[in-house]
């Protein structure tokens, strides 16, 4: 009984980690529901944005895990409609961003979100290598990760002839700066 209390006391509470990393206080939320009411993706989400905050408020481990396993955190577009309308000024997109990172760290990513994650990774690969978005590289990376090899292939010729797909990547001048940014971010990630 006694030991259990210590374990309980030492367990990192997710809402506290959110506060440390994003400076966003989840306890500010009083569950008015305005964020969910305005969210353009609410119909697709498995957990409504206000419910995600409520679940984190309770500090119940089971509910915290449910949040990290949810599809909703991956569907969030960070359009910031919720944040701009929140009466308590809670930066929900910022919190969602942290929850996505935490979900990856704990290996709890929702199976349906694997493609979204693949897209994120391919996008970052492109930026790391060229400093810019290299469309063909992004598409290739995404298709390799997801094995959706023939998806949207029919639109490729039209895009190519309209000049939307460059065969060779254009590069930024100061690639060292890009490198520094990525190194710094990865260092911070390791310290978490």
């Amino acid at each position: 009984m006694h030991d259990q209390n210590i374990v309980e006391a030492l367990r990192p509470v997710l809402k506290h980690k959110v506060k440390e990393n994003t400076e966003e206080d989840i306890m500010l939320c009083y569950q008015c529901g305005k964020c969910s009411a305005g969210c353009p993706l609410i119909d697709e989400m498995d957990i409504a944005p206000n419910q995600i905050l409520r679940m984190l408020q309770t500090e119940i481990p089971e509910l915290e895990e449910k949040v990290l396993k949810s599809l909703a955190i991956w569907l969030c577009l960070a359009c910031e409609q919720c944040y701009s309308r929140c009466p308590k000024d809670v930066d929900l997109p910022k919190i969602m961003d942290y929850l996505r990172a935490e979900s990856i760290r704990r290996d709890l990513v929702n199976p349906k979100a694997k493609e979204i994650l693949a897209f994120h990774k391919s996008f970052l690969d492109s930026v790391r290598l060229t400093g810019k978005l290299y469309e063909i590289g992004l598409i290739a990376g995404y298709k390799m990760r997801t094995m959706h090899l023939l998806q949207d292939v029919n639109v490729a010729p039209t895009m190519y002839f309209n000049g939307k797909l460059n065969l060779f990547p254009s590069q930024v001048k100061n690639k060292k700066a890009i490198k520094r940014i990525f190194e710094k971010a990865l260092r911070e990630e390791e310290n978490k």
């Binding site: 419910q51 679940m55 408020q57 309770t58 119940i60």
Partner: protein, 673 residues
């Protein structure tokens, strides 16, 4: 011959939109006895009033009917206007064309016809109106304040500071009330005793205030400005004139295990006791129900032996005194509902399930734990505490249907005080809604949640049971689709409902004031007369009207004090003379009253007494009823009941009412019969 003036008001569109006012004025001009008839857009406006005044002079009117809104709105306006034009104000009457006609009917010829008939009825009445003079009654400029809590204290001080005498009576041995039991107060968290005790001392020292503690009201007779209060001074068994409050008697008293009312039953007291250290007066009384001297025929007597002043007086008796007062402020406060009706919460079964008031005592520096939060069962500091709001409130099935208003705030305060004293502890609150309307209140609750990390869970607790020395509190989080929540608590605090005091029904009856279905005293009007009662001269202050927090109680008490001071600002009171009277005539009958005195038993104001008519030699001729004009409110109950029609009422006489009814029998109504 009567010369009546009829003035029809359009009230903008209110009457004019539905009733053809011009036609009503034309018809009214033809009624017998009507000398002048006119319609106007706003009769209550200055030009409208001037029309009435000019017409009275020009047409030598002997009576006026204003057909407009309810007399409750503008009767005083028009009566004042006619008296300025030189005729008696009671010769002006109002026909209610708005509330009784235009607002409740559609635009139609029959609506205009009804308006004409309403005017006709009033014309017939005014023809028979008599000039009347207002009744004048003297005022005793002493106020009686019932209850020495914060509301009573505030009212007493405000009245006394405006230069009038105050008698304050308090049933317990000290003034201070519930506020003296509180630890800290929301939303500022200042110490309750620190802000209250200076006021208590001020009451005791004020030259205009006479304080009777350990006293109860046993009866109130009379009427506004002239009440007689009977007060029972319970025997204190100690002569307070001699006692110096040294406390030797308390130290030696062998009966030490009496549950302490001041500590809400969490501590014990002796049979001779002072309720709390800052009590006013700070002199003990002997609780005769528990003292061995009184329960076992004179055994013990230790206190008398140790008292160096010889102040102990076992022979004291309850004494009843009568005091004349002009006004009464009722400030008797409220009580906390027990939770025995909630067996699922286990109050009484589990020592560590306590009420909010008990938590106040635990958190108070003058309490049984000297301000440390220790649970009653084993004195351990609870590491996990649960507060349950609405424990009895908003529960029509088992508790009370109303919201007790103060619990949301004091629960937030309790959770905060706990977190301030037990930093590592966990505090959870189960609530249904958070009602924090008030200056800085919402911010206070948010502070508990955001800064002090109090875990608020929306949902009602289903039950509490004991398991392995923990209290298991079972509920759901309704904000999470009824996610089950089970908390292993060390202590549970129930925010029990605020209810009316025991015996408040009897008190209301002895004061002749109304009370609601929950036995709280009723105000005269929920919005516009919140401090007056239906009985003139009796005001309300504080939680005896409904559960209230300290700022509301104090505000209402000051309001009541102003009402009393306004009453005392005049040497005489005037009131409408629309009261009943028993007729008188010459010998040999003297009065048609046969002396059955049925009227005496039905009069709700106790205004009717027996009068003996005697001849010159003092021999009794006849016993008849007599109505006290100071007490009669003109309700007419006696008039309806009088078998010999000997009672009549000024302004609503039989002849007037019959004339009104007869006026309605015209050709059209007879056709319909």
């Amino acid at each position: 011959m009567s010369r009546i003036g009829v003035f029809i008001c359009h009230c903008g569109e209110n009457i004019g939109g539905t009733v053809d006012c011009e036609k009503v004025a034309e018809t009214a001009a033809k009624y017998p006895g009507v000398a002048y008839s006119v319609d106007y857009k706003y009769m209550c406006s200055d030009p409208g009033q001037n029309m009435i005044k000019d017409a009275i002079k020009e047409h030598k009117l002997t009576g006026v009917v204003v057909a407009a809104c309810s007399p409750r709105m503008h009767e005083p306006t028009f009566r004042k206007a006619v008296s300025e034009a030189g005729i008696n104000p009671f010769l002006c009457e109002m026909a209610n064309l708005r509330e009784h006609c235009s607002w409740v009917h559609l635009k139609d010829d029959s609506t205009t016809e009804k308006a004409e008939e309403l005017v006709k009825v009033l014309v017939e009445k005014v023809k028979r109106n008599q000039p009347l003079e207002p009744i004048k009654v003297p005022v005793t400029k002493t106020a009686l304040v019932l209850g020495g809590g914060i509301a009573g204290i505030q009212a007493a001080l405000d009245i006394a500071n405006s230069g009038h005498k105050v008698i304050m009576i308090e049933k317990s041995p000290s003034i201070g009330g519930h506020m003296s039991q509180l630890s800290e107060t929301f939303p500022t968290l200042d110490c309750s005793q620190c802000i209250l005790t200076p006021r208590m001392v001020e009451v005791a020292q004020h030259p205009n205030i006479t304080l009777y503690t350990y006293a109860e009201l046993v009866g109130l007779d009379g009427f506004i400005g002239n009440f007689q209060a009977s007060i029972k001074l319970k025997a204190k068994s100690i002569d307070h004139d001699i006692c110096n409050g040294c406390g030797d008697c308390i130290a030696k008293c062998p009966i030490k295990k009496i549950p302490d009312e001041f500590n809400a039953g969490l501590g014990t007291r002796t049979a001779v006791y002072v309720p709390f250290p800052q009590a006013v007066p700070n002199k003990p009384v002997i609780d005769r129900e528990n003292c061995t001297y009184f329960t076992r025929d004179g055994k013990c007597g230790l206190c008398a032996k140790v008292c160096t002043k010889g102040a102990i007086d076992y022979s004291q008796k309850d004494e009843i005194i009568t005091i004349d007062v002009g006004a009464v402020v009722v400030a008797t406060g409220f009580d906390i509902k027990g939770t025995d009706f909630f067996p699922e919460y286990g109050y009484g079964r589990y020592k560590d399930v306590i009420t909010g008031l008990q938590f106040e005592r635990l958190a108070s520096a003058s309490g049984p734990t000297l301000g440390e939060i220790k649970r009653p069962s084993d004195g351990k500091v609870p590491q996990n505490i649960v507060f349950i709001a609405c424990a009895g409130s908003r529960d029509p099935a088992k508790g009370i249907e109303y919201c007790s208003k103060i619990c949301c705030m004091y629960t937030a305060k309790h959770a905060m005080l706990y977190k301030h004293k037990v930093h590592q502890g966990k505090a959870s609150v189960f609530y249904m809604d958070i009602r924090a309307g008030g200056k800085m209140y919402e911010e206070f609750v948010r502070r508990a949640i955001e800064e002090d990390d109090v875990n608020y869970i929306r949902g009602r607790v289903s039950r509490i049971y004991e398991k392995n020395g923990k209290l298991i509190v079972k509920g759901v989080d309704t904000l999470l689709d009824a996610y089950p929540v089970e908390i292993e608590a060390d202590m549970v605090v129930l925010a029990t409902a605020g209810i009316a005091n025991e015996g408040s029904e009897e008190l209301a009856q002895s004061l002749h004031i109304s009370y609601d279905q929950h036995n709280f005293f009723a105000e005269a009007h929920p919005k516009l007369k919140p401090v007056e009662t239906n009985t003139a001269g009796i005001m309300l202050a504080g939680a005896c009207q409904s559960p209230k927090d300290i700022p509301d109680s104090v505000s209402q008490a000051s309001g009541a004090a102003v009402k009393v001071a306004a009453l005392f600002s005049k040497d005489e009171l005037t009131r409408d003379p629309l009261i009943a009277y028993v007729n008188r005539c010459g010998p040999p009958t003297y009065s048609t009253c046969v002396g059955c005195f049925l009227c005496v038993s039905v009069c709700p104001y106790l205004a009717i007494e027996k009068e003996q008519i005697k001849d010159r030699n003092g021999n009794l001729i006849k016993e008849v009823a007599k109505i006290n004009p100071g007490l009669c409110q003109g309700c007419g109950t006696c008039v309806a009941l009088c078998r010999s029609k000997s009672i009549d009422i000024y302004g609503y006489s039989h002849s007037q009412v019959f004339a009104e009814v007869m006026a309605l029998f015209n050709e059209r109504s007879l056709e319909n019969v």
